[in-house]
Every structure is written in structure tokens, then in C-alpha cells.
């Protein structure tokens, strides 16, 4: 409270202290805020520059939302008014920045934006600095408005850089002209792409070259501050060059300059040089230049004392890795891993895994690398990494034998990591037969090797090993009894963990009961995995944050013309690799023959899905019949095949309707990317309005999901919308289309009317276009009651005692649409001798008559007696 009182005093000293207190200690205490705001308002209006300055400082440093509301309008005016003092302008600019940052919506873009840009030309460099900060932030949100600032910034920058040391006297810091301002201007320029105007661009290039040249000249002063300031400007200039990425000469020069810094005495410079080089490595022009420094970087990795510099060196190695130096880099990273800090180990593991996979020419090297990785840093090898190595070994035949042998040898080491046991167990289970010929790795030895590690492992590993044992039973009948003994032992059958117990019991039973054929089918080799985006990459992105890795990856994706081409930009599936045992005993899903090589030639993992997912499948067979059945039926099963069942339930009222579509997953596997879409032709879209809510894209096995469709009949229509469903089942892609039974007669409402009215209207609709007649043979016995029921089911009211001929059926109703209501009259005349019907429809609109006649004929003709439930 005292502080607020001080604010309102007239003496500068007291005011100063008051503001100081507030800016250091304020929080959103409501009482005080209002009082403070008042005091600030008074000060701003006072026109005394010192007071205004103080007030603006306070707003700038505190800048809460209430302040923004109060002052957002005034400050731009102060900023661009001609008569404000320079120091006030400075403060006002940064004040505006603060308010913009806290509440961007309250700061309107007015006509003051152009004047703000002009501030860049001001004499007072302090104002220019402040204005540059302001424009940098504003330009990031509205680049269009501040485009003119680019040329001004460039001219200002060139004036500063080329000035002699006596010009900018006060702002020259150890013989470097206005370093902070130069840095800020360069940052502003980074917000925009390289200028299109050639004059401006030429000036900018000149400027950048001057800065680069100056770095080469002998220093004007021995002091470290001079070189630091000079280098600050230099690094910012290099960032700008990298950002523009358009002038190869500049890029190469920058790279050379950074290379010199890599061996500089000062650690700071080495750190910054490594960081900038990381960004440079992404650019295509300088990538090769960067690679020449690889030895220096590796040396830095080994000898640097500072851990953050070493970290940067690792990042740079990752960035500059490509086919030519991949093996060297991976080897270096592995050796570094042995001594690395624990906090960064996981990241390095992921990076090594990604690099090894991407640039592996020979997959035996890849397997070696991953096994080494597990050996060195087993704890930090996350699940994705070893899933991936197993996926790759299974998908590639040539490396299976080698993998089995290497894994076997690795397992013989006295102390091996649990992850190695997991990988080893899996691979030996699948491919142990490939090395069984060698007496050193006979089946029994393999089994004993794995079993010796059994007790040391955690539950999931043990579960995996049990699966391996049963696979051994299949592969090597000679060890069957040994394994059965193990499974039979109490520690398995009565194990505390349910999973282990279940597996032991089931496997034991399977091995005793099943014949060799069944066993062989059940335990057949795993089929090749379908290609997915490497989940390792997704994990790395999550760890590092979006900035660093994505830029490198995307730059590389554009550059590399590999067949492997880097990870596809498909969404990552989070560890949805089928666990080894699930697929194995999934007797429902028949495993395809695994012995053949992966589908396409060219060796590397290729996407199995070659068809484009957007093509709509042709209508499923039988959909026409179903459709016809649904003309008068609102509930029932629309479509069914082995995988999917589609049920309908609909209700209609006047011109609106609602349909519930039920999708049932008949299998036990999940459907992924389940997308039902409603397709209407253009005419249909105009006449029928459909609204749906989206459906959850994953449908669990045995589950049913529901989709609601809201229907409105705008005007009469003839076609029916098509429901197209696409989803992924197992590894295959499914596409189903059915016609959705939304027909005109759904909007038919029965109307009762007396005989005279009927005939009156009948005569009114005597226009030949308004009448449609159809004569058709009756397919089924012509029973009166049933026919009556059908007509009612169709939606029309059955009018008794209207037609002079009692055998005839007469009906009337109204079709409701959004725009109009169309009255319809129908008369059905049966001819019992000829077993034929004559159907006459009269409505006020030709198309309606046509359509209704069609529908009713189909319906009467097609529907057999038993399948028609007379309900609406």
C-alpha cells in the first residue's frame, strides 16, 4: 500500500522507488492493481517524459491482462506521435511488445503499423533497437504487414556494419559497431524469406560478406570482449545464411569459418560452432563441406571435458551422417556410449539404432551393431529398438542364419543383459534350426543356454522363453522330453504369475496332445512384418522435442534418393507389434507361407500397401436386394460379410429423419483406420442433406460402434447415397460399399381423405406428366391383406370405400420436403386372372411420381411374404 501511495507523489525519487517496488514484487492482487492502474494512467497523461517513462517501464515489466485492457489503445499512439521523446518511444515500443505477448487479441493492428516500421530509420539507436524487438515478434504473427521492414532493416544493417569506428561513437563496443543492434536486425531478417528485390538482396549479401570478412581480419584489439562481440554478430549472420539457404558461396564460407572455430582455444566458441554446424548440415549446399570436418568432430567427442560440448558433437555426428561415413560414425558413437552420461544415453541409443537401420548396406552389420548396443547400454535400450531388430531379422532371409549364430555366441557370455536374452530367445526360437547342424550349437545346447538364464529374468522375459521352448519342441523333437519336464515342473505349473502358469499349462498340453502336423502349423515361422513407420523415430521425436530432429529428418528425406527412403510420413503405431505368443496361437488367423521372400524385389523393406486407400470399392454384391428390402423397412441388417456386419435403425418424421448405423466387428482382431464415408452424387447432395458425426477409427474385436446420421429431405430425389467403409484388418486393407436405403417414400406421410376429395384431386392431377403407370406381374400370390399391409408399409394411407371397385387399393399421402409438400395419390388394380397388377401414381411433380412408382413396384414385386414385417 505504501508503494502505491508513493506512486502518486510528485517527486521523481519517490515515484521511482514506488515503481521499482511494484515491478519487483507485484502479483495479481486485485485491489492494488486498480489503484496502480490509476496511477499509471495519470502518469501517462501527464506528458512529463520522465514520469511517462517510469509508467511505461512498469507496464512493460508487469504487463498483466487488466493493464492491457486499460492501455492497449493509447500506447501505439504514444509510440508514433512525433513529439514524444526518444527515451519514451523506446519504452513505449517494448511496452507494446509486452502487452501483445500477454494478450494478442487486445492489441489491434491499426494504421500505426507502417509508422512503427519507420521507426527503424530513427536517429536514436536505442529507439531502433526497441523497435526491432517489437517488429520481430509482430512479424512472426503477421508477416504481411511488416514486409516493408525488410528493406529498411537491410539498409540500416549495412550502414552499421560498414561504418567507421568513429561514427557510432557511443554505441561502439570495443571497436565493434553496435553489436547488439546488429544481432537484433539479423534476427528480424530471419523472420522472412530472402528478399525478392535484387537490389535489396544484393545489399544483404554484401553485408553478410563484410561480416564474414571482418572475422578473418586480424583483431583490432587484444581484448576478449572485442572478439566476443565480433563473434556474436558473426554467429547471428551465419544463422541468417543458413535460414535463407540460397547462396552456396556464403554457405561454404560460413562452413569454413565454423570449421576454424571448432579448434579454437575458447570452449564457448567451440560449443557455438558445433551448434551452428548442426544446422548447416541440414542444408544441401554445405552438407559436403560439413563432412570434411568429421575427424575434428570425432576428436572433440573424445577429448572434450565439457559434457555439453560433447553432446553437441554427438548431435552434429548424427546430422552429418550419410551413407559414406555411416559405419565410422556409428562405431564412434558406440564407443562414446560406453562412457557417456546416463542422462543422455537413451537418446544416443535411439540415434544409433536409427542410423544403423537407415544406412545399413549389409544387414549383418546392422545386427552386430544392435547387439553391441544392447551389450553396452542394455538398460537404455527401449522396447522399440529390439522390436525393430526382430522385425528386420524376420523380414530378411539372408541375415537370419547369421543373426542366430551371433545371438548364440553372445548369449554364451557370462553376464548378459535381459534384453539380449529376449532377443536371443526369440531369434533362436524362430531360426534355431539354422544353426542346429553345428555340434557346438545343437538343440540341446541351445536349450540349456537359454534355460540357464531363465531364473535370472523378469516375468515378461520368462514368458517369452516359454514360447521359445514350445517352438523348440516343434523344431527339434529330440528335446521334447527335456522341455516337457521343464514345463511340468512345479515352478512352472504352479507359478505365482498367472501368465506364466497359463503358458506352461497350455504349452505342456499342446506338446502332449497335438500331433506333429498340428504342432507344425501352430508353430510355423512368423510371417514377414508389414512395413510401418519406425516407432523409434517417433520416440526420438518425442524425446527431443519437435525442433531438432524433424528438421534434419525432413531435410534428409528430401535429399536422399534411397529405395528405403527413410521413414514414411504415416502416423506411428505405438508399439502395436503383435507380441510373439498372440499371433502364434491365433489359430483363427491363418498364417501365410513364410518361406517366400518379401513381396517385391530390390531387397529392402517395402510398403506392402500399394493400392491407394482413397479408391471406393464397387458396390458389394447383394446390396441391391438388401436395398430393396429396406424400402419399407427401417430396421434390420443392411450388409454382412465375414468381417463386418452393418445394421440399421431409422426413424423418420415429416421431412427429417435419423438413422443409426451399427458396425459390428465379427472378428477377434481390431479394425484400424475405420472410416465410413457417405458418398452422394452432386444432384443428390442438393436434394438430400446428410450429417454425420465421425466414428472412432479403431473398432475392437467383437465390438460394435454406432454412427448417427441426420437426414433432411430438401427436395425430392431419385438416387440413394452410398456408404463406403474402409478399414484395415490385420495386414490387409478392406473396402466395402453399400447403398444406404434412404428413399423418397421414407418421407411419405399418410393422409386420410374421403372419397369425393380423392376423386376431386385425382381429376386435378390429370396432367399426363403427373401420372405414372406401371404394369407388372405379381411374383407372389396376390393376397389382399398382404397387399394392404404393404401399401401401408410403404407410407401411404389405405383408403377404404373409395374406389368403386372393391378389389382395388387406393392410397394417399404427402411427401414432406424442406421446401414443399407434394401430395400423392395411388391406385393399385389387381388382375387376378392374369396375375398382374396395374399401379397408377399421381402427384403434382413428375419426378416424384416416377420415383414413387419405381419404388413401389420394386417393393411389391420383390418382397416375399415372410420377410416383410409390417411396421414403420
Amino acid at each position: 500500500m505504501e508503494a502505491v501511495n508513493l506512486l502518486s507523489s510528485n517527486r521523481y525519487t519517490e515515484k521511482q522507488i514506488g515503481y521499482l517496488f511494484i515491478s519487483v514484487l507485484v502479483n495479481s492482487n486485485s485491489e492494488l492493481i486498480r489503484l496502480i492502474n490509476n496511477a499509471i494512467k495519470n502518469d501517462l497523461a501527464s506528458r512529463n517524459p520522465t514520469f511517462m517513462g517510469l509508467a511505461l517501464h512498469c507496464i512493460a515489466n508487469v504487463g498483466s491482462r487488466e493493464m492491457a485492457e486499460a492501455f492497449a489503445g493509447e500506447i501505439p499512439k504514444i509510440l508514433v506521435a512525433g513529439d514524444t521523446m526518444d527515451s519514451v518511444k523506446q519504452s513505449a515500443a517494448l511496452c507494446l511488445l509486452r502487452l501483445y505477448r500477454t494478450s494478442p487479441d487486445l492489441v489491434p493492428m491499426g494504421d500505426w503499423t507502417s509508422r512503427v516500421v519507420h521507426l527503424l530509420n530513427d536517429q536514436h539507436l536505442g529507439v531502433v533497437t526497441a523497435a526491432t524487438s517489437l517488429i520481430t515478434t509482430l512479424a512472426q504473427k503477421n508477416p504481411e504487414e511488416f514486409k516493408t521492414s525488410v528493406s529498411l532493416a537491410v539498409s540500416r544493417l549495412s550502414r552499421i556494419v560498414t561504418s567507421a569506428s568513429t561514427d557510432l561513437q557511443d554505441y561502439t563496443y570495443y571497436f565493434v559497431p553496435a553489436p547488439w543492434l546488429s544481432v537484433k536486425l539479423l534476427r528480424l531478417l530471419q523472420c522472412y524469406p530472402p528478399p525478392e528485390d535484387p537490389a535489396v538482396r544484393g545489399r544483404l549479401t554484401e553485408c553478410l560478406e563484410t561480416i564474414l570478412n571482418k572475422a578473418q581480419e586480424p583483431p583490432k584489439s587484444k581484448k576478449v570482449q572485442h572478439s566476443n562481440a565480433k563473434n556474436a554478430v558473426l554467429f547471428e549472420a551465419i544463422s541468417l545464411i543458413i535460414h535463407h539457404d540460397s547462396e552456396p558461396s556464403l554457405l561454404v564460407r560460413a562452413c569454413g569459418q565454423l570449421g576454424q572455430f571448432l579448434q579454437h582455444r575458447e570452449t564457448n566458441l567451440r560449443y557455438l560452432a558445433l551448434e551452428s554446424m548442426c544446422a548447416l548440415a541440414g542444408s544441401e549446399f554445405s552438407h559436403d563441406a560439413v563432412k570434411t570436418h568429421i575427424d575434428t568432430v570425432i576428436n572433440a567427442l573424445k577429448t572434450e571435458r565439457d559434457v555439453s560440448v560433447r553432446q553437441r558433437a554427438v548431435d552434429l555426428l548424427y546430422a552429418m551422417c550419410d551413407r559414406s561415413n555411416a559405419q565410422q560414425i556409428v562405431a564412434e558413437m558406440l564407443s562414446y556410449l560406453e562412457t557417456a552420461d546416463y542422462s543422455i544415453r537413451e537418446e544416443i541409443v535411439l540415434k544409433v539404432a536409427i542410423l544403423a537401420e537407415k544406412y545399413a548396406v549389409d544387414y549383418t552389420w546392422y545386427v552386430d551393431t544392435i547387439l553391441n548396443l544392447i551389450r553396452i547400454a542394455g538398460d537404455y535400450v527401449s522396447e522399440e529398438v529390439w522390436y525393430r531388430v526382430i522385425q528386420i531379422v524376420i523380414n530378411r532371409d539372408d541375415v537370419q542364419g547369421y543373426a542366430a549364430k551371433t545371438v548364440f555366441e553372445a548369449l554364451q557370455a557370462p553376464a548378459c543383459h535381459e534384453n539380449l536374452v529376449k532377443v536371443g530367445g526369440y531369434i533362436l526360437g524362430e531360426f534355431g534350426n539354422l544353426i542346429a547342424g553345428d555340434p557346438r550349437s545343437s538343440p540341446l545346447i541351445q536349450f540349456h543356454l537359454l534355460h540357464s538364464k531363465f531364473h535370472l529374468c523378469s516375468v515378461p522375459t520368462r514368458a517369452l522363453l516359454l514360447s521359445t521352448y514350445i517352438k523348440f519342441v516343434n523344431l527339434f523333437p529330440e528335446v521334447k522330453t527335456t522341455i516337457q519336464d521343464v514345463l511340468r515342473s512345479d515352478s512352472q505349473l504352479k507359478n505365482a504369475d498367472v501368465e506364466l502358469q497359463q503358458r506352461a499349462v497350455e504349452y505342456l498340453r499342446l506338446s502332449t496332445v497335438a500331433s506333429t502336423d498340428i504342432l507344425a502349423t501352430v508353430l510355423e515361422e512368423m510371417p514377414p512384418f508389414p512395413e510401418r513407420e519406425s516407432s523409434i523415430l517417433a520416440k526420438l521425436k518425442k524425446k527431443k522435442g519437435p525442433n531438432t530432429v524433424t528438421d534434419l529428418e525432413e531435410a534428409k528425406r528430401e535429399r536422399s534418393a534411397d529405395v528405403n527412403g527413410g521413414p514414411e510420413p504415416a502416423p506411428a503405431s505405438a508399439a502395436s507389434t503383435p507380441s510373439p505368443s498372440a499371433d502364434l496361437l491365433g489359430l483363427g488367423a491363418a498364417p501365410p507361407a513364410p518361406a517366400g521372400p518379401p513381396p517385391s524385389s530390390g531387397g529392402l523393406l517395402v510398403d506392402v500397401f500399394s493400392d491407394s486407400p482413397s479408391a471406393v470399392a464397387p458396390l458389394a454384391p447383394g446390396s441391391e436386394d438388401n436395398f430393396a428390402r429396406f424400402v419399407c423397412k427401417n430396421n434390420g441388417v443392411l450388409f454382412e460379410n465375414q468381417l463386418l456386419q452393418i445394421g440399421l435403425k431409422s426413424e423418420f418424421r415429416q421431412n427429417l429423419g435419423r438413422m443409426f448405423i451399427f458396425y459390428g466387428n465379427k472378428t477377434s482382431t481390431q479394425f484400424l483406420n475405420f472410416t465410413p464415408t457417405l458418398i452422394c452424387s452432386d444432384d443428390l447432395q442438393m436434394n438430400l442433406s446428410l450429417q454425420t458425426k465421425p466414428v472412432d477409427p479403431t473398432v475392437d474385436g467383437g465390438a460394435q460402434v454406432q454412427q448417427v446420421v441426420n437426414i433432411e429431405c430438401v427436395s425430392d430425389f431419385t438416387e440413394a447415397p452410398v456408404l463406403n467403409i474402409q478399414f484395415r484388418y490385420g495386414g490387409t486393407f478392406q473396402n466395402v460399399s453399400v447403398k444406404l436405403p434412404i428413399t423418397l417414400n421414407k418421407f411419405f406421410q399418410p393422409t386420410e381423405m374421403a372419397s369425393q376429395d380423392f376423386f376431386q384431386r385425382w381429376k386435378q392431377l390429370s396432367n399426363p406428366q403427373q401420372e405414372v403407370q406401371n404394369i407388372f406381374k405379381a411374383k407372389h400370390p396376390m393376397d389382399t391383406e398382404i397387399t394392404k399391409a404393404k401399401i401401408i408399409g410403404f407410407g401411404s394411407a389405405l383408403l377404404e370405400e373409395v374406389d368403386p371397385n372393391p378389389a382395388n387399393f387406393v392410397g394417399a399421402g404427402i411427401i414432406h420436403t424442406r421446401t414443399t409438400q407434394i401430395g400423392c395419390l395411388l391406385r393399385l388394380e389387381p388382375n387376378l386372372q392374369a396375375q398382374m397388377y396395374r399401379l397408377t401414381l399421381r402427384t403434382s411433380k413428375e419426378t416424384v411420381s416416377q420415383r414413387l412408382c419405381e419404388l413401389l413396384s420394386v417393393f411389391l414385386h420383390l418382397c416375399c411374404v415372410s420377410s416383410f414385417p409390417c411396421c414403420k
Binding site: V24, A60, N61, N268, S308
Partner: protein, 144 residues
């Protein structure tokens, strides 16, 4: 943008702290201890930029005092590093060979100087004469 500006001595006592982004008062002490811990554990040969949580620390040691500036990644590290030195030079000129005691006893003046140089997390003025002008006027007024 500069997130905070700290002057901490080797024993961990904060001599000056200025936050440009609001941090709860209770959390400030914690932050300061962590920061000083990471700075003290560095040796001479290590570089002056530390990555700390989601921002970078740039520190510089002057005798027994550490000046630490926390920035986010929009700032040029070298420029901030030199800025710290510039600030110390300004203090030097005003106090004529500044020491830790000077700062402790004239905290308000140091705040005023810092306010002149940094506003809302951006460096606004680096010209020594211009920064010290209002302070010198103030001194003259209080003397007379």
C-alpha cells in the same frame, strides 16, 4: 527473450534477482539454488552455456560473484554473454571499481541501471552514457 537475471555469490546468496516472466516467489528460491548449483560445478575449461530445463543459462564469473542470465532459444548466446560484461562495465563506471558490497548497499540503483538496459526481456540500451544519465541527474537532485 531474457527470462531472468541473477547475481549470486559463491555461497549461494542471491544479491540481485530480476524476473521478466512471472515466477512464484516460493519457486524463486528453488530455482536460484538449482541454477547456482549447476554453475558452481563447472570448471574453467567448460563453456559458459548450460542447457537447463527448457531454457539456456549463460553465466559469467567475476571474482566471487556469478552473473547468470536465463534465456529462451530466441536469443544469441554470445550477444548475451557480452551483454553481461557490458552491464558490469556500466556498474564499474558508476560505482568506480564496483564490488559485491557496493551492490548490496545500493540495490535500488543497480535495479535502476538494469531497468534502463533491459526492458521486458529485451536488450534495449547499451550506450553507457545514456544509461547513466538519469541516475546522475537523480544524484545531483538529491545532493542539492
Amino acid at each position: 527473450m531474457i527470462k531472468f537475471f541473477l547475481m549470486v555469490n559463491k555461497q549461494g546468496q542471491t544479491r540481485l534477482s530480476k524476473y521478466y516472466e512471472h515466477v512464484e516467489i516460493s519457486k524463486r528460491t528453488l530455482l536460484e539454488t538449482e541454477v547456482i548449483k549447476s554453475c558452481l560445478s563447472r570448471s574453467n575449461e567448460q563453456c559458459s552455456f548450460i542447457e537447463f530445463k527448457d531454457f539456456k543459462l549463460i553465466y559469467r564469473q567475476y571474482a566471487a560473484l556469478f552473473i547468470v542470465v536465463g534465456v529462451n532459444d530466441t536469443e544469441n548466446e554470445m550477444a548475451i554473454y557480452e551483454f553481461i560484461h557490458n552491464f558490469v562495465e556500466v556498474l564499474d563506471e558508476y560505482f568506480s571499481r564496483v564490488s559485491e558490497l557496493d551492490i548490496m548497499f545500493n540495490l535500488d540503483k543497480v535495479h535502476i541501471i538494469l531497468d534502463e538496459m533491459v526492458l521486458n526481456g529485451c536488450i534495449v540500451e547499451t550506450n553507457r552514457a545514456r544509461i547513466l544519465a538519469p541516475l546522475l541527474i537523480l544524484d545531483k537532485m538529491s545532493e542539492s
